[in-house]
Subunit: 221 residues, 2 copies
């Protein structure tokens, strides 16, 4: 009954990569759901099944852990859900539309809106620490760059001639970010579709109307 050793010696197996991954998994989820300051290392350790010593060995401070989450997980999330689909799409507009719809569909089926990982941390940490801010700004930059590059690719194919690549990229990212912010607050993904529709209608109405006009003129002849 006294001083029972919890772990009998000879049973431990070192797995630094696996342990690190487990900690990052838990931290990413907790930062996303509760935020950085509301996530205690104690909670993370319990959730990951990791002792204080192990955690400290891989991530000396809480800041180091958050920086790793940002650079390895948040950046990857933006890459997966936005950059890759846009690059793979037939056009910028198609790519943007597909992302909005994919995210909206995903939120609707899971019935819960956690918000955008990047924006969540950006709001909480941008002013808290310069290192956080720099890391987050880099992800925003890559995100915008990918969209702007896609617009330029469209332009070389003869499309989107009167679209400013950088401005459109900023608009797309801002619209998505803001829409996710509202979706998170209202816990309703409908605003995502509203924004997508308004974005598409407004942005492509010039072409659509000109085409319609041309058709009418042809008919008139």
């Amino acid at each position: 009954m006294t001083a029972r050793p919890k772990v009998r010696p000879g049973k431990r197996t070192n797995d630094p990569e696996g342990l690190r991954k487990r900690v990052l998994d838990v931290a990413e989820a907790s930062f996303q759901a509760r935020g950085y300051h509301a996530s205690s290392l104690g909670d993370l350790m319990a959730a990951a099944g990791v002792t204080g010593g192990a955690l400290h060995h891989h991530f000396p401070t809480k800041k180091a852990l958050a920086l790793a989450v940002i650079e390895e997980r948040v950046a990857a999330a933006v890459e997966t859900t936005w950059i890759a689909p846009v690059q793979a799409a037939g056009s910028t507009r198609e790519g943007v539309r597909s992302v909005f719809e994919a995210v909206a569909a995903e939120l609707e089926q899971q019935g819960f809106v956690r918000g955008c990982p990047l924006n969540n941390l950006a709001h909480e940490l941008s002013l808290a620490d310069p290192d956080f801010r720099t890391a987050l700004a880099g992800i925003f930059s890559a995100w915008r760059q990918a969209i702007a590059d896609k617009v330029r690719a469209d332009q070389q194919a003869g499309r989107e001639q009167d679209t400013d690549p950088q401005r459109f990229a900023a608009l797309a990212v801002a619209t998505y970010s803001g829409a996710m912010s509202m979706a998170k607050t209202t816990q309703d993904s409908a605003v995502l579709r509203d924004c997508l529709n308004a974005l598409e209608q407004g942005v492509s109405s010039a072409r659509a109307k000109r085409r319609r006009r041309v058709l009418r003129q042809y008919k008139a002849f």
Copy 2:
């Protein structure tokens, strides 16, 4: 040198409204700059020059204080910087443009981007507590409603016939929210102007281009 009484009796003057206002001022600023969880009541008490007893008398819990900040200050900020200017503008587009430019100009002159008060708290607190979420969602709703109403007013004046009021309102709020998020992260207000230009170009390009075309045709003759 021993036990100097800090406050000699007979000098105190009760000023509940003033004290409450001071606390809200400090809390609003701190929540905006550092966030809710990163703002300790001790810091707020020191900054406001208020004792624990006084703070507790006006705001029993930290949550109650935050709720008061949201309902009284954040809502008022949205009203002042967005709703009133839009309602006073000659048209929805003019109102939106004027707000974007006013905010961008203000940020540029103060050389520092604190972000949108509503979005800052929305990201941190929406999932933390249902009461927070409800209060914040209400402000978003009023914000969108004001813009949608303005579009409807435009429509009754014969303008904006092919604009969906609710969708445009969602787009305007989302664009601003997302642009401010990026501006905060990059500490650069330029993205605000990018987004405004992209929004205006896309949304009004139909009309603008048609007009330019007409002018060129007149010149040709």
